[in-house]
């Protein structure tokens, strides 16, 4: 099983640990933001003052942002080597989008 990492030095290891910690920090921040976005979404709906014409697109936008955090930070799509995953995920999102669009527009007419 061609493992070519046997010669990694200690220095390397320290560097990697630092990088991992850095990444974890980003992930913590995005978690905080996600929680925040969730709060805002729930509050928007819970409050009586916000009109639906605004609330619905707004919470949808929040959901999209939150999901982007989830994908790019938690699922590492911000890292290299995720070109193929991104291609296929977005193709899926494209099909998903036109499916939902069609069902919202031409099922009941």
């Amino acid at each position: 099983m061609g493992n070519k990492n046997t010669n990694q030095s200690k220095v390397d290891l320290v560097y990697r640990k630092k990088k991992n910690a850095e990444e974890m920090k980003h992930q913590l921040i995005s978690f905080g933001l996600m929680i925040g976005l969730t709060f805002v979404a729930f509050l928007t709906i819970a409050s009586e003052d916000v009109g639906n014409w605004f609330a619905v697109p707004f919470i949808l936008l929040l959901a999209v942002i939150q999901v982007a955090f989830q994908l790019y930070y938690f699922m590492h799509m911000n890292q290299k080597g995720h070109e193929t995953p991104a291609l296929f995920l977005y193709s899926g999102v494209f099909v998903a989008f036109i499916t939902v669009l069609a069902f919202l527009t031409i099922i009941w007419w």
Binding site: F31, A41, V100
Partner: protein
Amino acid sequence: MEPQKMTAETFPASPEKATLEGKNKFVGFWLFLGGETVLFASLFATYLALKNSNAGGAKTTDMFDLTLVFIATMLLLTSSLTSVYAMYHMKNFAFKKMQLWLGVTVLLGASFLGVEIYEFYHYVHAYDFTITSSALGSSFYTLVGTHGAHVAFGLCWITALMIRNMRRGLDLYNAPKYYVASLYWHFIDVVWVFIFTVVYLMGMVG
């Protein structure tokens, strides 16, 4: 051939992609998630088309309870963070810590599932709202239930991984498996974000 025992030094930076098997799992699983996206889209679309078809029964505005959904959301979101944390420890070759945080993930996930089951139970008994009562019921339970089934499957999967590798520790054979399971778990969270937004929050405003 058994994969060789590793140390923190020999453990590669991206253990999930260090072997060809790992690379294949990684790509294959992402592809699978692309397909899952479309599967859930079909269910979402159907729900959206039928969400006002309550056939005279309870409406979404009558039933949904924001507090409950909020608790469920927090549980699942947090479990996403704990599983990220577990992957952080995996990369640092800290097997025990990884297992620990996966354990926390499983507990959070299980509580989420508990809340959801309670919620369904409540709808059935308080509102007579079942999968057969109307097209709304059918599409609601199918969409949310499919998500719930994914949660349940994810729990079993992660638990099985934890038990299976308890003694063995981390190596390049099981690292991709852990990684992929955590991807799955995040994806479940992604779907939930849309469920709480599209089904529950939008369901509250009618």
